[in-house]
């Protein structure tokens, strides 16, 4: 009988929202792979993929089909369960982040107010950190289960890199949280939308820079792609993977990129806030949709910057990576935190 107490409509609403967001993320990720190749090509004076469909727009489907059609190889000496679990975990962890990101304000539909956020957890940021840390297991387990020394080495690199940079990321974030006073992403975004309040980037420029660098490291993007390191570790932790399992790994990287762009946009760039514009002037539903568009544009810009950096900077050496993380980023983050604290005290 207790079941009847549940708000069934709410559950349906959330399920629909989850489906939309997950599939939209996957779709965007699909085209991010395409964009990556296009951006790389254009930055290198090449045309990039342009044969499959108009402007090569069907290229991601061709890639996906190719991955699916490939033979599925599981090495004899691998740990079969973990070998399958690895890519699944990487993908799940990447997608789970989208639950707490506020994709837009609320819309009125069928007489209900629907929040464009799957779950407004009041510790949203902590949840994201937890899930992102889980993502390391995808790499670790994949590398370990492959039973291949290159994969294992890459997995170890990946794990230590993620742990080192999570620290600096966390401290940079603490400084931000000190100014916002809330862990809920929705509240943080709404604070930035409030009139007279600038985007958080204005209050935390150094914090943002640190967060951005660490996010790049967490996504294993160049210059921090040491777990992959094509030319020293033969593609690292997913070396033994083929077919769709490999596809999952590659794909989860892109989903991660989208999610960290969304988090950065929400934390520092006002989320679904439209700059220099008062959303209250528009009808609620339209304002919400325009807001979603604004967030998407911010995400696309971030993704472009990610790619732009990837095709500009070479990879760090491992000791440089660790030096940067522990000896530069963490002290800077600590100083930034102290300054923020002093600033808050001075304001009181």
């Amino acid at each position: 009988m207790t079941l009847l107490v549940l708000d069934w409509l709410l559950i349906i609403e959330k399920l629909v929202l989850i489906a939309i967001i997950v599939f939209a993320s996957l779709g965007i990720a699909l085209y991010t792979t395409f964009a990556e190749r296009k951006v790389a090509a254009i930055l290198q004076d090449r045309p990039g993929p342009e044969r499959a469909g108009p402007f090569g727009l069907f290229q991601p489907f061709a890639d996906g089909l190719k991955l699916i059609m490939k033979e599925e190889i599981t090495p004899n000496s691998s740990n079969k369960t973990l070998f399958i679990l690895g890519p699944g975990l990487a993908m799940t962890a990447a997608l789970m982040t989208c639950a707490v990101i506020p994709w837009g304000a609320s819309v009125q539909l069928f007489g209900r107010t629907i929040d464009l956020q799957i779950a407004d957890v009041n510790i949203g940021i902590l949840y994201i950190f937890g899930v992102v840390s889980l993502g390391v297991y995808g790499i670790m387990i994949g590398g370990w289960a492959s039973n291949n020394k290159f994969s294992l080495m890459a997995a170890l690199r990946g794990a230590s890199q993620a742990i080192s940079y999570e620290l600096a990321m966390g401290i940079a974030l603490i400084a931000l949280l000190m100014t916002t006073g809330s862990l809920s992403l929705k509240t943080i975004v709404e604070q930035q939308m409030a009139p007279g309040h600038l985007w958080n980037i204005a209050y935390q420029p150094i914090g943002f820079l640190l967060f951005f660098i660490c996010a790049m490291a967490e996504c294993n993007r160049t210059p921090f792609d040491l777990p992959e390191a094509e030319n020293e570790l033969n593609f690292g932790y997913h070396q033994e993977y083929s077919s769709m399992k490999l596809g999952f790994y590659l794909f989860s990287e892109y989903v991660n990129m989208i999610m960290s762009s969304a988090v950065m946009a929400s934390l520092y760039f006002g989320g679904y806030d439209i700059p220099f514009f008062n959303e209250a002037l528009l009808p609620q539903n339209i304002a919400a949709l325009v807001g979603v568009g604004a967030l998407l544009i911010k995400i696309v810009i971030f993704i472009f910057i990610f790619m732009w950096i990837r095709w500009t900077i070479p990879r760090f050496r491992y000791d440089q990576l660790m030096n940067l993380g522990w000896k530069s980023l963490i002290p800077i983050a600590l100083v930034n935190m102290l300054i923020t604290g002093a600033w808050i005290l001075a304001k009181l």
Binding site: D45, I309, T312, I313
Partner: protein, 180 residues
């Protein structure tokens, strides 16, 4: 020690300045450089639709020439086969019969004339050796094929179409890039 090249530069070992140690200025500079490439002209030639022009001395697939009246010039003397360093050419001679004067210029002609394009190194010595101006290297190249056999070109593939009756085929076999 004398430098081997005028472009060599002494490695600077002085400690990095603060700006250099921050990496960021250098990174932004690099990003500026890559960004400027967005506006650069692409040197790409989109192959099947666009083709690069061959140089005027390009040595491509062979053609067996005809004379002004459209008769095959080759007399199956075998000088090209002798000259060929890759031994790519084989031929069988035959005697011209009465009534075939409009087909073959000399009394003897090549009934079978084959060049193995996988052996051929496109050196053009056959062209130089021929006393009858019968063989020329055109400005086309052998397309891909599925079998090795497919690369043995016979007379059907090489005798150039008659300019008068089939000017289009003639131009194609000659392969002047301006026709592509």
């Amino acid at each position: 020690m004398e430098a081997l090249t005028s472009r060599s530069a002494q490695v600077s070992r002085k400690p990095m300045s603060l700006a250099e140690r921050l990496f960021l200025p250098a990174i932004f500079k690099g990003m500026g450089i890559t960004f400027s490439h967005i506006f650069k002209k692409q040197p790409t030639i989109r192959y099947p639709e666009q083709r690069r022009e061959f140089s005027p001395v390009f040595r491509g697939l062979h053609v067996l020439n005809r004379d002004e009246e459209g008769r095959e010039r080759c007399t199956a003397c075998g000088l090209c086969a002798v000259a060929c360093p890759a031994e790519a050419i084989t031929m069988e001679a035959a005697e011209r019969l009465p009534g075939e004067e409009h087909l073959y210029r000399e009394e003897k002609y090549a009934a079978v004339y084959e060049i193995n394009m996988l052996r051929c190194i496109f050196c053009g010595l056959c062209e130089e050796a021929c006393p009858k101006d019968a063989i020329y290297l055109s400005e086309t190249f052998a397309p891909a094929n599925y079998t090795r056999k497919g690369f043995i070109y016979g007379k059907d593939d090489m005798v150039i179409p008659n300019v008068k009756t089939d000017p289009e085929g003639f131009a194609k076999a000659k392969g002047s890039p301006r026709n592509n």
